[in-house]
Amino acid sequence: MLLEQVEYVRPQSLDEALEILANDDGAAPLAGGQSLTNVLKNRVASVDVLVDISRLDDLAGIARTADGGLSIGACVTYDELDRSADVRQTHWLLGEVAAHIEDQQIRNKGTIGGNCCLSDPTNNLPPLLVALDAVMELRSRAGQRSVASADFFKGYFATALEPGELLVSVTVPPMPAGSGAGYTSLAVGADAKAMVRAAARVTLDGGTIADSRLVLARVAHVPVRDTDAEARLNGGDATEESVAAACAGVADGMQPIADVHGSSEYRRQMAKVMARRAVSQAVAAARGSRNGSKAGGN
């Protein structure tokens, strides 16, 4: 409550927003405000001017891309993801994960763009977007560029965004044929902040895993792909036993942050469990050939 003095502006166009952001180091985009408002309330960072981008048409809407993937405007809310027929059809799990972010009020305001640009390690969407090979479309007055989601998250509250740059949309490629996705979290309470998460995508070739993505969240400051585990999975049987064996070494050598909810060692163990469950879900989804299917909860 009771923020510091701050300016507010609601630009009428994307260009105008980029202009303001380019000219003022102390400007910050305000999207859903479901994190930024808290930052301001608790006066942990100060902002000169809030640039309200939430009503910009250029950042709204979900579109199918020519290749059957999705282009999601940065200001699309979790609730819109949850209810979008396109999302449910092409990437069912993305809608499902969005449907389990905290609560209805936050889902009605929080945006995919804000969820990523904050780069809070507890946020739900980053690990999933990395597992889905999503691409972040960035724009500044200087022009537009694309950054792979795997390269977008740079650290605790840090991203590849340059000053004056906005995330305008997220492109999610179509699920490869024969693939499925999975997502699991170990949370303090239902739909609450997670201690560990894992997101996975596997592509099956008959009874074997042809390709995989395994992304862990909260074992480090940013979502990390466990390429060793992926290598163990790839070419292996798509059975419980072989998935379990491949995931046994997950997070070894990592030092997850310890806090009141558990030690570093506990989190490492949990990363293995979450990884195995996410991969198993992905396998089941691939078998059921529902795109990115099976409810992973939050």
Partner: protein, 833 residues
């Protein structure tokens, strides 16, 4: 439908007490028309913001208020030194030395003792400016080593919070009943537990603290509009410090957004605001926000039990217990060390333990001060007793149900005198347990537990929590802490009045925070006065000007049904008496011929001879010429009554006496499902059986049971307040402190038994706090899920990582329990005890 109080109608006399009635207070609350503290204000008020310490323990080197005062809109800044200079004494201490040397002032003086300790307070023309200015008050600190571990704090080598006291031990006492040494020597088994730990948490009401305080320099009257739940306690503590007599206070509270004991703790803020108002010459309004609340408003008592020894007979009869208890009061003794005796209201828990020795140490640490948190101090001890009973069953391979039933105080034992002289009034624990087991479908769950077996990764656990909710304190127990204290007994006051047009008003000294006093008081008064509850207007909240209060007024410690309603009954009966007298005069009848019905007084059997209440009011208030003086003298239609429970002063040397009037009981059964791989726990079934004697409004009672259950489950699995070594709170807001949500807290099946209390005017027992039964039940369920040979569930809070550790502890590692079995002739002579 509208929910308003209509004037006296004329419905036939019915019995309203004992009925489930929707509440009178709901109408305004569902429409957003409640009047909570931040909704109100006073003319010309400024807004206050406290400057608080980021350090847990530090010396205050200097405070520079100039940058704040230089800001536009800032009225005043008050520092700790200034405040002290305006005071006549530190706050009154409950403890004798050395506790009494641990002095507290309205704002910190010289030192800060916990993160969030207030060093100054700013008054400005807006909330925002006040906060902006507070950030510009420059405080220089010299950090000191903080003390955060409860047991280590008692070590003479530990850094001291109060140099003047020379120790961090605020109080120490030995409670020794029966002959525990004898029992330990003669028992078949002695079960020994290394350490049990009851964690720090807060039932944290949804509305934070708040107050608008005006120090009127003209009249010297201090007006306090606040959500304080024990206003006259605040007045008694604050008055002598800031030099204000009781008749110059005017405490007012309206709707209160929950309290759970926490709102007994903010008298330092009230004092600081009064002084700030005095300095600035205008009322000071302070609204606490959540982070401030979590850091400073008060936490529940954290207690560590060491060296637990339990003498048990082969058949599972538990003879007693011996333990060293260390209770952590935090940085200041806000209500402590009262907790050091409050627990002894329930020395043997629900059981017939006869030999009990508790070596009790109250320490101060560099953490937020503790305040009475729902289940205050008894909950911690009851948890210990329940853990003991549960562990005994598991260790001896006995059925936890049977062990409980064997040791329970039996229905025929009431009134039952405990080893320290408390009188348990009534109850039927074995039947309560049977009902709870059935409601929770325990037979089916046991089946399911067997089916699941091992290797499925899932486990079922079933646990029981039996507790007591002791209500209506005998404040004489405070003398066990400090024999010089001038307190004993208890009481509550109420007025019942027939107003000018025959309307019925009741007001009383309680400060309800959701307990439905307006409704239950109206039910009780309606029965006595022959009207409907709709006809009775019960004043909302507390107003000192109403004069319906005594020193112990307020709403706390599970006592309303007894003391509050006892006062209402008394006042209503007095009023009835006056009405009957007047009516007999008016109707030319004998008093014993008069009956009250439908808002009229009439002569029994004669429809024609009746007078409505408005007629009686008219006789007294507005048309009284010629009325006999003796009648006017006796019948002012304004009846005050003070209910005083029957208590003696306890024996302060032996530490014995009847410490509370009633003992409601709760038996809860909890079924959990545990994920072996992660330690996640889900409560899959929950049943609660409450026995609080006669229930005035079962709907309200059941609501209290639901609430206490929800908070207890949340505390057992989600809510914990933890400090790191530097004394920083790890959960300073609801973002970190995961409050149980509707998706975390299960549905609760409620059962009830009504064992009327023989000691109360209405057979009711106080209830509402609930004795922490869910914490006991969840721990027991986890113990059950862990299975034979598992470590002891030794913490009251069990988050997933802890459960995981219990599930996966190395089989060779210590389990925290040891059973020593006597080799000599078992049980010789024990029967006779």
């Amino acid at each position: 439908m509208t929910i308003t109080s209509t004037p006296v109608t004329g419905e036939a006399t019915k019995t309203w007490s004992g009925r489930s009635m929707p509440r009178k207070e709901d109408g305004r609350l569902v429409q957003g028309q409640g009047s909570f503290v931040d909704d109100g204000g006073m003319h010309g008020q400024g807004y206050a913001w406290f400057v608080r310490s980021p350090y847990a323990h530090a010396r205050i080197v200097s405070i520079d208020c100039e940058p704040a005062l230089a800001m536009e809109g800032v009225y005043a800044v008050l520092t700790g030194d200034e405040a002290k200079a305006m005071c006549q004494a530190p706050f009154f201490a409950i403890a004798p030395p050395p506790g009494s040397l641990m002095q507290e002032w309205p704002l910190a003086v010289d030192k800060v003792r916990y993160q969030g300790d207030a060093v100054a307070v700013v008054l400005a023309d807006s909330r925002e400016t006040a906060r902006d200015a507070a950030e510009r008050v420059v405080v220089e600190y010299e950090p000191l080593t903080p003390v955060t571990d409860t047991v280590a704090a008692a070590d003479p080598a530990a850094p001291l919070l109060y140099d003047e006291a020379g120790t961090n031990v605020a109080w120490h006492g030995l409670f020794d009943y029966g002959d525990v040494d004898w029992a330990l020597e003669n028992a078949d088994h002695v079960v020994k537990l290394d350490r049990l730990h009851f964690h720090r948490f807060t039932s944290s009401p949804l509305e934070c603290n708040g107050a608008v305080v005006d120090f009127d320099r003209g009249t010297g009257v201090v007006s306090v509009l606040s959500n304080y739940q024990m206003p006259m306690f605040a007045a008694m503590v604050v008055g002598p410090t800031i030099g204000v007599p009781m008749n110059k206070f005017n405490f007012v509270s309206k709707d209160i957004g929950g309290a759970f004991g926490i709102k007994i703790g903010f008298y330092p803020q009230i004092a600081a605001l009064a002084l700030l108002s005095k300095k600035a010459g205008r009322p000071a309004k302070w609204t606490e926000f959540r982070t401030e609340h979590m850091l400073t408003a008060g936490h529940g008592n954290e207690r560590t039990f060491l060296d637990v020894e339990v003498p048990v007979m082969a058949d599972g009869t538990i003879l007693g217990l011996k333990v060293r208890a260390f209770d952590d009061a935090g940085a200041y003794l806000h209500y402590e060390p009262l907790g050091a005796v409050i627990w002894s209201q329930v020395v043997p828990g629900c059981y017939k333990l006869k030999h009990v020795r508790v070596d009790y140490t109250e320490v101060v640490t560099n953490k937020c001060p503790v305040v009475p948190n729902r289940g205050y101090s008894r909950m911690q001890h009851l948890w210990l007793v329940e853990r003991i009973v549960d562990v005994v069953a598991h260790e001896l391979g006995l059925d936890p149900v049977e062990v409980r039933k064997r040791n329970y105080v039996q229905p025929e034992d009431y009134p039952y005198e405990t080893p320290n002289g408390c009188i348990y009034d009534s109850g039927d624990l074995p039947r309560s347990l049977d009902i709870a087991l059935e409601l929770a479908h325990v037979a089916e769950w046991r089946e399911r537990q067997r089916e699941l077996g091992t290797g499925t990764g899932r486990r079922i656990g079933i646990g029981i929590g039996s507790t007591l909710d002791s209500g209506t304190n005998n404040f004489g127990q405070s003398r066990i802490i400090n024999p010089d204290l001038p307190f004993s007994g208890n009481g509550e006051a109420a007025f019942a009045k027939l107003d000018l047009f025959g309307e019925i008003n009741v007001n009383l000294g309680t400060t309800p925070q959701g307990q439905g006093h307006e409704t239950t008081a109206a039910q009780v008064a309606a029965d006595i006065l022959g009207v409907t509850p709709e006809d009775v207007t019960v004043t909302t909240g507390f107003n000192q000007a109403n004069n319906s209060y005594v020193g112990f007024s307020g709403t706390y410690a599970s006592q309303f049904a007894v003391s509050g309603l006892g006062a209402v009954m008394g006042a209503a009966q007095k009023l009835r008496h006056q009405i009957v007298k007047l009516a007999a005069f008016a109707l030319q009848a004998e008093e014993d011929e008069i009956e009250l019905e439908g808002g009229s007084a009439r002569v029994r059997g004669d429809e024609e001879r009746a007078i409505p209440f408005i007629g009686l009011s008219n006789m007294v208030y507005t048309n009284n010429a010629g009325l006999p003086a003796s009648l006017l003298d006796e019948c002012d239609l304004n009846a005050r009554y003070v209910y005083v429970p029957p208590f003696e002063v306890p024996d302060t040397v032996a530490k014995t006496g009847n410490l509370t009037l009633t003992y409601a009981s709760q038996v809860h059964v909890c079924v959990v499902e545990v994920d072996e791989e992660t330690g996640e726990v889900k409560v899959v079934e929950y049943a609660a059986v409450d026995d609080c004697g006669n229930r005035i409004n079962p709907l309200v009672v059941e609501g209290q049971v639901h609430g206490a259950t929800g908070l207890g489950i949340a505390a057992s699995l989600y809510e914990s307040l933890d400090y790191d070594e530097s004394g920083q709170l790890q959960e300073p807001s609801f973002y970190e402190y995961h409050v149980g949500t509707a998706m975390d807290i299960p549905d609760v099946a409620c059962g009830d038994i009504e064992s009327p209390s023989p000691f109360t005017p209405n057979g009711a027992k106080g209830m509402g706090e609930g004795g922490g039964a869910p914490l006991h039940a969840v721990c027991a369920a986890l113990q059950d899920a862990l299975g034979a040979g598992a470590p002891v569930v030794s913490e009251s809070h069990n988050h997933w990582a802890r459960v995981y550790e219990l599930l996966h502890r190395d089989p060779g590692a210590p389990r925290g329990v040891e059973v020593v079995t006597r080799t000599a002739e078992p049980g010789a002579g024990v029967e006779s005890l």
